[in-house]
């Protein structure tokens, strides 16, 4: 049997397979990079939005909503001021509030943040799509000197259940200000979440107070170290302030009203924020970098397409005789154009498909690994409309790029007549 026009294009390409494969590879890698950035961006966005869920309001001292979000959820930066214990108690007593979880920040342990809270935190803090915190080992704390550690902290420091710890006042790494007469020990290790919880050391609020006995003036009281553990336990360790409060409402419908009521508290200035709103605002700030990355990878795709142009142009000399034989055996100009454009489109399509396959392979290989060891889910990395649109765009762009070389081939084949002296 004979061979179709498309078959001619295919045979011709196979005849030049090394350069064709290199071109397809260049396009494939550029498409894989673009789709990878796009999918990682979508996943990062989704993961970011799901750092905290199920909490209706976060209440802290007035600063800005991004600032409050950064230190209360992401453990970044410090609170400029705190809210009083009575203010926290008033919040808890509100009729429209179902639950509250106070948190107290400001101390660290070997570079990891220490957070004082109540055991209610482990019941109410949710991430992802309302996933609760779970213990991979041990249990929640129920004594002043018990601690629950995040998965990454446990892995990095090699801590296990029962490991004793010395907690540091302030955020320095170690040294002079070690609270060595207040021995904390690990009673629980949390499963990975992919959120800042993994890097946090959780202790009871009273534990934080106990750490600071003898430090009330801000410097070390020489008597502080002479106090025994039992003396410290006998003190009233109820904190005077907390850094922020996570709040859950009885009914979501009262969200805006409750927020307004808290923000206009007459006895103490308070700031209540809606986590999803603050997250969106924070993302808008960070989004510029991510869009820049996308633009750069878009340019890489353009470079990949230029390699198609290079390949077509360099093949023109090589194919000059081929084209004139085809013309002599009856090929019309439209056939020559079709041959060139089919080759351009074929290179683009093949590159796009391989790039898509490559990125799917990479995500399907790494996703289980990421989820297992870091608790990071990669949502939206499956095939999506973006893949289809990218494939279509790359193919159409490749065909358009092929128009120039196709016209050159056509003009030459017309000028060469029946004989080419090659």
């Amino acid at each position: 049997m004979g061979v179709s026009i498309l078959g001619l294009a295919w045979h011709s390409l196979v005849n030049r397979r090394v350069s064709a494969l290199l071109t397809v590879l260049a396009v494939a890698l550029s498409v894989a990079l673009f789709l990878g950035v796009e999918k990682a961006r979508t996943a990062a966005r989704a993961g970011f939005d799901q750092t905290i869920s199920g909490t209706d309001l976060i209440v802290g001292a007035p600063s800005g909503q991004i600032n409050l979000l950064l230190y209360s959820v992401f453990r970044l930066g410090n609170a400029t001021s705190e809210i009083s214990w009575p203010a926290y108690q008033r919040l808890t007593a509100r009729d429209d509030v179902a639950w509250t979880v106070p948190i107290s920040l400001g101390d660290s342990h070997r570079g990891f943040r220490v957070m004082g809270t109540t055991s209610a935190y482990f019941d109410h803090y949710k991430y992802g799509r309302s996933k609760p915190l779970t213990f991979s080992e041990g249990r929640a704390f129920d004594d002043i000197f018990e601690a629950v550690i995040g998965a990454q902290l446990a892995r990095d420091l090699g801590y296990e259940i029962g490991t004793p710890m010395v907690l540091t006042h302030g955020l320095g790494t170690a040294g002079l200000s070690d609270h060595d007469n207040r021995p904390f020990r690990v009673v629980g290790i949390l499963a990975p979440t992919g959120t800042p919880v993994d890097q946090t050391l959780h202790v009871p609020l009273e534990g934080i107070t106990a750490m600071h006995v003898g430090w009330e003036t801000g410097t070390r009281n020489p008597l502080a170290d002479t106090l025994s553990e039992s003396v410290i336990r006998s003190f009233d360790l109820t904190p005077k302030t907390v850094t922020a409060v996570f709040v859950g409402l009885v009914q979501k419908g009262t969200l805006l009203r409750t927020r307004r009521a808290i923000n206009s508290d007459r006895q103490e200035p308070l700031l209540a924020i809606i986590p999803s709103q603050a997250l969106a605002e924070l993302w808008a700030v960070m989004g510029n970098a991510e869009r820049l990355l996308l633009a750069i990878s878009g340019f890489v795709v353009a470079v990949g397409l230029v390699s198609i142009l290079t390949s077509l142009l360099t093949s023109l000399n090589e194919r000059r005789r081929e084209m004139s034989i085809l013309r002599a055996t009856g090929a019309r100009p439209s056939h020559i154009l079709f041959l060139m454009l089919a080759e351009a489109g074929g290179l683009g399509l093949a590159g796009g498909l391989i790039g898509m396959g490559l990125i799917q392979l990479i995500f399907s290989l790494t996703a289980p690994l990421l989820t297992a060891s870091y608790g990071i889910a990669l949502p939206g990395t499956g095939l999506s409309i973006i893949d289809g649109a990218t494939l279509l765009t790359v193919t159409v762009a490749a065909i358009l790029i092929g128009v120039g070389p196709a016209l050159v081939a056509l003009r030459r084949s017309l000028a060469d007549g029946l004989s080419v002296k090659v």
Partner: protein, 237 residues
Amino acid sequence: MEPQTCIELRDVTFAWPGEPALLDISRLTVSQGEKLFLKGASGSGKSTLLGLIAGVLSPRSGLISVLGQDQAQAGGSQRDHLRANRLGVIFQMFNLVPYLSVLQNVALPCRFSPDRARRVSENGGVTAEARRLLAQLGLHEPSLLSRSVSALSVGQQQRVAAARALIGQPDLVIADEPTSALDADSRDRFIALLNAQVEASGATLVFVSHDGGLAGQFDRALDLTTLNRAARRQRTD
């Protein structure tokens, strides 16, 4: 009955833009079924003449009638149609598409011309017709059909090219120095086989070569150097 005219040229001139005339022929007539030998040294304008007849070049002036179609007046697509449907072309060398098999090369014109494809299918299909033509041109081996053309000798390649020119019963076969790369034995055999096939199909043959010794194997011989006034002028300069 007077034989019908296959090719008629009258006062044809051709020149590349901005260059002196390459071709100037006052009159050339080829009858249908005739086997014409054109003797032409390189530079005599033979490739240009064949390009004009095949319709891949357009003359500056004059009339070129091929199989009843005025090539000088016809549009590009009409000339393409005539070439695809009714002409067969053989070159000096490098006739074959290197990445296609022998059979695919021979079948190529049927892909571009529905007329030829139809005539071939009336004769029993592309494969049968290609096999028949190759066999009659001395290429009998059945395994040859699927072989790569680069594995063939030059003499075999030229016979494959002849089979391709002849497939689908074209009315006119144009051969541009098809034997210049062959030794004397295979040259004479090639011409004999080509003539036999052209005769069998009733086609007209225009055979160009610089080797005047071949003239005796054709119905009529002409010297392009005397025919082409532009070449004559160049020589007297």
